[in-house]
Amino acid sequence: MTTGKRVHVTEGLFEETADGARLLGSKCATCGSTYFPKSPVCHNPKCDGSAMTDASFGPKGNLWSYSTQHYAPPLPAKFDEPYEPYTLGLVDLPEGLRVLGRMSTDDVEGLKSGMDVELIIDRIHSDDDGNDVVSWMFRPAQAQA
């Protein structure tokens, strides 16, 4: 049974805006290095700066690689029973981040390194109360057309 209510898998990592999905992170005011999740400091060893500003990323990205998981993951990962294989992607964002995320596609065979993808927020499983647990995901960019 589902309530249709959307619950973020964890707070503070992403948001759904009128302009689409955004990942919430930080940017170094000095060297421009970007971070997801937010970072209170810059980890670039060549940067002396420490002033960080909030930044959000997305929705455009480029698929670096992908992999479908044929075995149910161990805890603390959760999934709907019975387990259905899902695909993970590793995506380069133009803001300078390489981000992991679920892939949302009906055509896994059509995935290709180097293809354009876009960020969305969508359901990854249901919780015990029947709410839709949502997280950030990527889908092939042409799917929007």
Binding site: V9, T10, L13, G25, S33, T34, Y35, F36, P37, H43, N44, P45, K46, W64, S65, Y66, S67, T68, Q69, H70, Y71, P73, P74, L75, P76, A77, K78, F79, Y86, L88, L90, D92, L93, G96, L97, R98, V99, L100, G101, R102, K112, S113, G114, I124, S135, W136
Partner: protein, 393 residues
């Protein structure tokens, strides 16, 4: 810094040993190393040990102290080194330093581990500030997916085939048949590997190392001490450890910098290996055999290229032409590697020291690399730790 010899090595067989404690397994390896060296326990002046995550060590990683208490307390200093799967290599590096610095004449280095069943839970921290926890909860990423992403990228860049991935596992098992310490000692056909279950596409069950119990140890000593016991010691040409650099492109948390070079390579492993080349004064051409950490078949293709042992994109053709067999020009994992031994995380660096020593002595039987003079070992661990060692005769 003075020369350091590997005077003796010892290994407990690797596999699942529900009836043996980690202490018993370490004792087996230590006693074998002492016997191999022709020395007695009270001659050890210090112990450097890998800290286990999963077993013994009083829950504090005090695995070296367990060994000392079991062998008989003599008051010697103990160094417990924690570096994930690189802990054994890290312990070796400190053990080497204790002797090369002139501080001690003879030390014991040991690593032992008993692993829980199933996929390794990388992080021991269940909280939302831990990136490993977050990537399991928010992305649902199991451990093998990390390797699968690297492998898929290589397939699309270099045209690596599923058959080639399988061939690496076939080669590993060919070697393991001749290694009595190996957990899996049967030959696999390419069909066997390709029929094994898909885990994280494109990687199959037989292309990923399982978890095992295991222990390995070595006695290191000064040249002066070594000459009292042997005319033909194995020498530590170099040892190095390293951690990763900021922008190597490896996805270690939820996100990492997307580097301008577009690639992903293990900078920690490269730095450790290059550190060894430099300290030993050798070039990749001088390396006669490699024992590298094959958590999955991917690394047998990527690492030799990243370390200059072959040209970029050449690894598949070396594999296809049999050059990575013990009799080839770039023998990789003649032991059978961790595909056949399984991953006893904190013992792995010491496993490699044992195999390299046997190979350089010419004691490796039917898996022997002919006329091996110089051997390279490498491990990789959580926290972006890596170790490398070059032994020579």
């Amino acid at each position: 810094m003075r020369d350091v010899a590997v005077l003796g090595v010892g290994m407990h067989p690797w596999g699942k040993f529900p009836d043996s404690s980690i202490t018993e397994m370490c004792r087996y390896a230590v006693e074998a190393a002492l016997k191999d060296a022709g020395v007695k326990w009270p001659e050890m002046e210090a112990v450097s040990a890998g800290s286990s995550r999963f077993s013994g060590g009083k829950g504090w990683g005090l695995n070296g102290n367990d060994v000392v208490e079991d062998m008989g307390p003599t008051g010697i200093p103990v160094y417990n080194l924690s570096a994930g799967c690189a802990a054994g290599g890290n312990a070796f590096d400190i053990g080497h330093m204790l002797v090369s610095s002139g501080m001690y004449e003879m030390v014991l280095v040991v690593g032992g581990e008993k692993m829980p069943k199933g996929m390794i839970q990388l992080s021991g921290v269940d909280e939302e500030t831990d990136p490993e926890y977050l990537r399991q909860v928010a992305v649902g990423m199991p451990g093998p997916a990390f390797w699968a992403l690297l492998t898929r990228r290589r397939m699309e860049e270099h045209g690596t085939t599923e058959e080639q991935l399988a061939k690496i596992a076939v080669k590993a098992h060919q070697n393991s048949v001749h290694n009595s310490n190996a957990r899996f000692r049967q030959e696999f056909t390419q069909e066997d590997v390709l029929n094994s279950a898909l885990v994280s596409d494109p990687l199959r069950l037989y292309e990923i190392c399982p978890v095992s119990d295991g222990a390995a140890a070595a006695i290191l000593c000064s040249a002066e001490e070594a000459r009292k016991h042997t005319t033909d010691p194995i020498w530590v040409a170099a040892s190095a450890v390293a951690t990763a650099q900021f922008d190597d492109g490896i996805p270690r948390g939820l996100a990492s910098p997307a580097p301008a070079h577009g690639r992903a390579y293990h900078s920690e492993a490269l730095l450790a290996v290059e550190g060894c080349y430099e300290k030993a004064g050798v070039t990749p051409k001088d390396i006669d055999l490699v024992e590298l950490q094959d958590n999955t078949v991917y690394y047998e293709l990527a690492f030799p290229e990243e370390w200059g042992l072959c040209e970029p994109g050449e690894a598949e053709s070396l594999l296809e032409s049999g050059e990575t067999l013990p009799t080839g020009k770039l023998p990789i994992n003649p032991s059978g590697g961790f595909l056949c031994f399984g991953e006893a995380t904190t013992a792995m660096g010491m496993f490699q020291v044992c195999e390299l020593t046997w190979q350089l002595r010419g004691q490796a039987g039917k898996r022997q690399v002919p006329d091996a003079m110089v051997g390279l070992g490498q491990t990789l661990g959580l926290g972006s730790n890596a170790s490398a060692v070059i032994l020579k005769r």
